[in-house]
Amino acid sequence: MKVEGKRRLWQDYQKEVAEDKFFYVRSCIRQTFFPGSERAFIKIIGTELGKEINEDPAHTSCTGIGYHTDIVPFETTQTVVARQFSLMTEAGLENYVPSCITSFGLYTEILETWEHFPLIEEQIRENLYKATQRTFNKPKNLAHASDVIFKFRHEIAAKAKHKLIDVHTGRPLRVVEHIGCHYSKMFPHKGIGGAEYPYVLAGMVEAWGGEVIDYPERRHCCGFGFRQYLVQANRGYSIACSQKKFESMQPYEPDMIITNCPGCPMFLDRWQYVIGEMEKVAYGPNGQMIPVFTYEEVAGLVLGYDPWELGLQMHQVNCEPVLDKMGVQYDPELKYKGSKGEFLGVPAIPEFLKCC
């Protein structure tokens, strides 16, 4: 593998990301899947890096899930998105940062649609005005939240308390980076590094001391695919996709997986347990699983945030092996306690997999 070849390609997929004054919009599902991640993002960008980051509680779903399951028509979706833009406009901001990959893909798709079909944009403006009396400006800069962390990856590295390095051996942690399909497969030029060899997460891993694994099925979808997992009977299709990836990455002995999508970490995390229970296989060492993280969680760990404050106890796969390798201090007693010290309950022990 010639990394210079990839670096040459990455040059073709540079992307402008705003410097400051972000309008941040949360994901529908990430707050329940990985509840500490968005909070960590705001803390990193706002407190840690001193940037202006704004939110609006009137912000709603972008309808991406409904759109991708054929429940919400595109026209409705565009009008809802136009309303989100009007919230940004009202706040006097122009740098739009969605937390969700599907939202990012959908916003990109809508802005492209309007670019090529101005009449549709006019129609949507009219729809929005009739429904809400609102008007809006289009964002000057649209970047996914992982683009923003990528932009400031070296600043984060400069403040690092921990690196993606095994403190016991000095070996860089081997990291699988998994990119959400809607990040750049639809519009390769809107993603850092393009669609074939995306650099957005790889750049973070490199900057924080880790080693990126390039495994054969790296482009494969995690299987989230909206309507596949929504119907229980279809989940066998969904899980088979994740299984393909695990089987492909396992020989490389990854220490961890880092993701930038709401669905991917959810499935790569939860499906390992399901596959383990169904087929009695574990993809990590010694009957264990491969820990899965969001990029905010990894950035938070690098910056020395408390793992339980980052919500890592909500992962199906225990994160402790990675914490131990990175030399992160944590109190095992506090893992299943809430912010006020209340007991949150402990998950059941799997039949086959070893987790503790």
Binding site: M1, G5, L9, E196, Y197
Partner: protein, 344 residues
């Protein structure tokens, strides 16, 4: 007959053959070539389809037939061509300008830059090479992988940079299919135990004895043909290449590990020619090759008076077609000169 001067852009086989015919009829010729040696792509090649003839034989014959009187300006880049008093003035990076009665574009093609098919991993994976590199490997008796081992299995990938909207090349480069078959046979001759697979969409065996070569590849050499375009390639831990395609005749996705993946790169108009084509406002087709005045009737003339085209700068051609096209261009130029003389 008035002795006229023709400036030929490109010293590949079409330029050489046109020069031979024109100078035989008493015209003065200057050949401009960017390279050090004449012969263009043919000089870089080893064996020719369909008869496995040495390409150097062709080139030697063409060069031997070339009269001494021809001016050859190698390692020369043309900067501009201007119309002046019924002549063309050729400005190059040489001190003196050249004055010509007619200009023949014989600037040929470039092979497709395989890095543009990102998903094939050329320039990233060690064991992905182009057909040009394979030709040299076999010629130099270095038919080995990047790790220095003998390839046990090889995949030949057809249509790389051809018939592909994603790289803006909708056209067929024509010669790659038969080149793949020729090279597959060479692999089997060099290393009989190596398995060879051709991944194709259609096998376009258009020329005489091409189909027979294909049949020989199947029957005598056991080369396998899988109908399906390569969708993506990955590198495995042992540096082998994982090929993913659909076996379209079975209707099933297929995956196989190969030790070497060979990309049959197609043809594009020579990049060196593009600025000149633009400056002279020559018409190009949607394939970006130069458009002749009339594809059927006047394939060697252009809309510009006194500017002619020959060879692969008007689209992919094999060697016999290129040579015929060069002869045809020479005839067009001569009849243009006759017209000029009659006018005066």
């Amino acid at each position: 007959m008035l002795k006229r001067h023709v400036a030929i852009i490109g010293g590949g086989i079409s330029g050489l053959e046109a020069a031979r015919v024109l100078s035989k009829s008493g015209h003065e010729i200057t050949i401009f070539d960017a390279g050090e040696k004449l012969g263009g792509h043919v000089a870089q090649w080893d064996l020719l389809f369909p008869n496995m003839r040495k390409s150097s034989e062709i080139l030697t014959a063409l060069l031997n037939q070339l009269p001494k009187s021809i001016h050859i300006l190698s390692k020369t880049t043309i900067k501009n061509i201007e119309r002046f008093n019924g002549y063309y003035v050729i400005h190059s990076d040489r001190v003196e300008n050249v004055l010509a009665d007619a200009v023949l574009f014989a600037g040929g093609f470039d092979t497709f830059d395989a890095q543009r098919k990102e998903e094939y991993g050329y320039g990233i994976y060690d064991n992905v090479i182009t057909s040009i590199e394979l030709e040299n490997k076999i010629k130099d008796h270095r038919f080995i992988t990047a790790q220095g081992t003998k390839p046990k299995r090889v995949a030949m990938i057809h249509c790389v940079g051809s018939r592909d909207e994603k790289v803006c090349n909708n056209y067929c480069s024509r010669v790659c299919c038969v080149t793949a078959v020729k090279q597959a046979i060479e692999i089997k001759k060099t290393s009989p135990e190596t398995e060879v697979f051709c991944f194709y969409m259609d096998l376009r065996m258009f020329g005489r004895h091409f189909e027979e070569l294909y049949r020989e590849a199947q029957e005598k050499y056991g080369i396998q043909f899988i109908r399906g375009r390569l969708s993506e390639a990955s590198e495995a831990q042992d540096k082998t290449i994982i090929v993913k395609a659909e076996d379209t005749l079975l209707g099933k996705p297929l995956k196989m590990n190969v030790d070497l993946m060979v990309l049959m790169v197609g043809m594009e108009l020579s990049k060196a020619l593009v600025p000149l084509v633009e400056k002279m406002q020559l018409e190009v087709g949607d394939d970006r090759f130069i458009m002749p005045l009339d594809e059927q009737l006047y394939p060697n003339q252009t809309k510009k008076e006194g500017v002619f085209v020959a060879g692969t700068c008007t689209g992919p051609k094999n060697i016999p077609e290129t040579l015929n096209d060069a002869r045809s261009a020479a005839v067009s130029i001569m009849s243009y000169f006759d017209q000029l003389s009659n006018k005066n």
